[in-house]
C-alpha cells in the first residue's frame, strides 16, 4: 500500500544538483543535495579553500513601514534598535514560555524595512506565527518573500577572492554580519551579506529565483572559485561545519521544548531592550529562579565510538542523564564530537560522562565550544 506522498519542494537549482550527481535527501520537505562527490572533501574545501551551497530553501520574511521596528522588536529577542542600515544579527522568535519558534538572522535593509531569514522546515509555522503575533500592529506590512530568492552561500577562507571576481563591490569593505547591495554576475542590486553557517568567513547572496539565472550564477561562482579548488557542498557538509562551530540547528539544539538559557543563547536575549518581546517574561522568571536546570554542552568522545543525534547520555555509573542533539565525526578536527543536553551538575568542563551507543557505554568528556574557531587572519 502506497502512502500518500506529498511532492517534495525543489529549489531552482534542483536539476543542476542532479546533473552534478548529488545524493538527494528529503530535508524538511525539500529535495536537497546531501553531498556531491563526498562530504569530507566538501567540508575540507570550506575549511581550507572555498565551497558553494544552495541554501534557497531558507525562508525570508520582510517587514515594511514605520511600524516595522516595533514588530521586529516584539517578535525577536535580540535588540534590533541597535542595528544600523546594512547590518544584521542573530536572533530568535520565542513562544511565551521562552522556547523557540525559530532562530533567525535579522537584517536592517533601511530605516523602515527589515528582513528576517528563517529556517526551511519551519517556514509555514514561522509565517503564521509572525502574522498572528504582529499582524494586528499598526504601520507594518509583512511579506513572505521565501520563494523570490535563490540564496547561495559562498564560504571559506577563499570566499572573498572567489566572489570578488564577479562583482565591482569592494567585498573587503563588508564587515562580518554586515551586507550591501551590488552588481554580481551582471545582476544589479544583489544583496551581498557577509554571513553564513559554517564558522568560516564567507558570503550569502540573494539572486532572482528563476532557474536560468540561478543556474548561470551557480556556474559562474564555480568557475570563479576553480583556482581555489571550489566544490559544490551539500547539507551533509553544512551540518558537520556548523556542528564543529557549535551553531544551533532548529529541531536539534533548539526547539519548542528548549528555552534560550538551556541552549546557551542568553547573550542574544536582550531583556532590557525596553520592548516586551514574546518570551521575555518567561526568560526573566527563569533567570530569577537561578537559571536553567540543564545545559547544552560540547562532548568529545574519549573512547572509541561515535555519539549521534538522539543517543542517550549517561553518568559513568550508567544512569541516563540527557541526550545528544547533534553528534558526528568532525572531518576537520578529526575527533568524534557532539552537542548534548545534560543537567547543570554534569556541565562543567572535563566532566566525564558516557554515551550509550547501541547498548554500550562509551566515555566522552565535556569540552569548550565552539569545537572549532577559525584562525584569525594575519594583518
Amino acid at each position: 500500500m502506497a502512502e500518500a506522498t506529498t511532492e517534495l519542494r525543489k529549489t531552482a537549482l534542483n536539476t543542476i544538483h542532479r546533473a552534478h550527481k548529488a545524493k538527494m535527501v528529503d530535508f524538511g520537505g525539500w529535495d536537497m543535495p546531501v553531498e556531491y562527490q563526498g562530504l569530507v572533501a566538501e567540508h575540507m574545501a570550506v575549511r581550507t579553500g572555498v565551497g558553494l551551497f544552495d541554501v534557497s530553501h531558507m525562508g525570508d520574511i520582510q517587514f515594511r513601514g514605520p511600524g516595522s521596528l516595533a514588530a521586529v522588536q516584539r517578535l525577536c529577542m535580540n535588540d534590533a534598535a541597535k542595528l544600523q542600515v546594512g547590518q544584521a544579527h542573530y536572533s530568535a522568535m520565542l513562544y511565551p514560555d521562552g522556547t523557540f519558534v525559530d532562530d533567525v538572522v535579522v537584517h536592517k535593509l533601511s530605516e523602515n524595512d527589515y528582513l528576517i531569514v528563517i529556517n526551511a522546515g519551519t517556514r509555514e509555522k514561522d509565517v503564521q506565527w509572525v502574522r498572528k503575533t504582529v499582524g494586528h500592529m499598526p504601520a507594518v506590512h509583512v511579506s513572505d518573500y521565501s520563494d523570490m530568492y535563490t540564496q547561495l552561500a559562498i564560504q571559506g577562507p577563499r570566499a572573498v577572492e572567489t566572489l570578488q571576481k564577479l562583482t565591482d563591490t569592494d567585498l573587503s569593505g563588508i564587515k562580518g554580519y554586515w551586507f550591501t547591495w551590488g552588481k554580481v554576475a551582471g545582476l544589479y542590486n544583489v544583496m551581498i551579506a557577509r554571513t553564513g553557517y559554517t564558522g568560516e568567513d564567507g558570503f550569502e547572496i540573494y539572486i532572482p529565483s528563476d532557474e536560468q539565472t540561478s543556474a548561470r550564477v551557480w556556474g559562474e561562482v564555480l568557475a570563479a572559485g576553480a583556482e581555489f579548488g571550489i566544490l559544490p557542498c551539500g547539507l551533509g557538509a553544512r551540518n558537520t561545519l556548523r556542528l564543529e562551530s557549535a551553531m544551533a540547528l532548529y529541531g536539534h539544539e533548539i526547539s519548542e521544548t528548549i528555552n534560550v538559557y538551556e541552549a546557551g543563547l542568553g547573550r542574544y536575549a536582550k531583556l532590557e531592550k525596553g520592548v516586551d518581546f514574546v518570551g521575555r517574561e518567561a526568560l526573566a522568571a527563569i533567570e530569577a529562579a537561578g537559571g536553567p536546570k540543564r545545559k547544552l554542552v560540547g562532548l568529545e568522545m574519549i573512547e572509541r565510538g561515535i555519539g549521534r543525534d538522539g543517543y542517550p547520555v549517561c553518568a559513568v555509573s550508567g544512569e541516563r542523564i540527557g541526550q545528544i542533539t547533534s553528534g558526528s565525526p568532525a572531518p576537520f578536527l578529526k575527533k568524534n564530537i557532539a552537542l548534548a543536553y545534560v543537567p547543570v551538575q554534569y556541565a562543567g568542563l572535563d566532566e566525564v560522562v558516557a554515551v550509550e551507543i547501541r547498548g554500550q557505554l562509551v566515555k566522552a568528556k565535556v569540552v569548550p565550544t565552539p569545537f572549532y574557531r577559525r584562525p584569525k587572519k594575519a594583518a
Binding site: K23, L39, H43, G236, T240, S328, P331
Partner: protein
C-alpha cells in the same frame, strides 16, 4: 558500480567470496557509495560465531551508521585489522577490501544468496534507477 561475478550477495549489501568452507566477507560498492566517507568499522573477534542474516558488526560514515549482516553462518577466522585505522579503504575499493574471513558451517547456505546479476537488479529496483 561493479559487482564481481564470482561473489555472492545479500539484500543488506554484503558480499561473500567462498572457496570450499573458507569465506571472505565485505560490503558492496553500492553500500560504500551510499554510505559516503566511511570513518569507523566495528567487527567481531577471531573465534566469534556469526549467524546467517544476523548482525555481526557495524560500519559508520560521517553521516550514518549501518549494521552489517552475515551472509552465512560460521566462525570468524580473521578480521581485517587495517580497517581500524584506514576504514576509508572500503570507499577506495569495496570489492577488494575484506572485513572478515569465515569458516563456513554449511557451504550450502551460499545457494540462498544473490548472484551478481540478481544483486545488481535488486539495487536498481531499490534505488529506482
Amino acid at each position: 558500480m561493479s559487482y564481481p561475478a564470482s561473489y555472492r550477495y545479500t539484500k543488506e549489501h554484503e558480499w561473500i567470496s567462498a572457496d570450499g568452507t573458507a569465506g571472505t566477507v565485505g560490503i558492496t560498492d553500492y553500500a560504500q557509495s551510499s554510505l559516503g566517507d566511511i570513518v569507523f568499522v566495528e567487527l567481531p573477534k577471531v573465534g566469534d560465531a556469526v549467524e546467517a542474516g544476523k548482525i555481526f558488526g557495524s560500519v559508520e560514515s560521517v553521516k550514518a551508521v549501518s549494521d552489517l549482516y552475515s551472509p552465512v553462518s560460521g566462525t570468524v577466522t580473521a578480521v581485517n585489522e587495517e580497517l581500524k585505522d584506514k576504514p576509508e579503504k572500503i570507499n577506495e575499493d569495496a570489492n577488494a577490501t575484506w572485513m572478515l574471513k569465515l569458516d563456513l558451517k554449511d557451504a550450502g547456505e551460499l545457494d540462498a544468496l544473490l548472484s551478481a546479476e540478481d544483486y545488481e537488479k535488486f539495487v536498481s529496483e531499490e534505488t529506482g534507477h
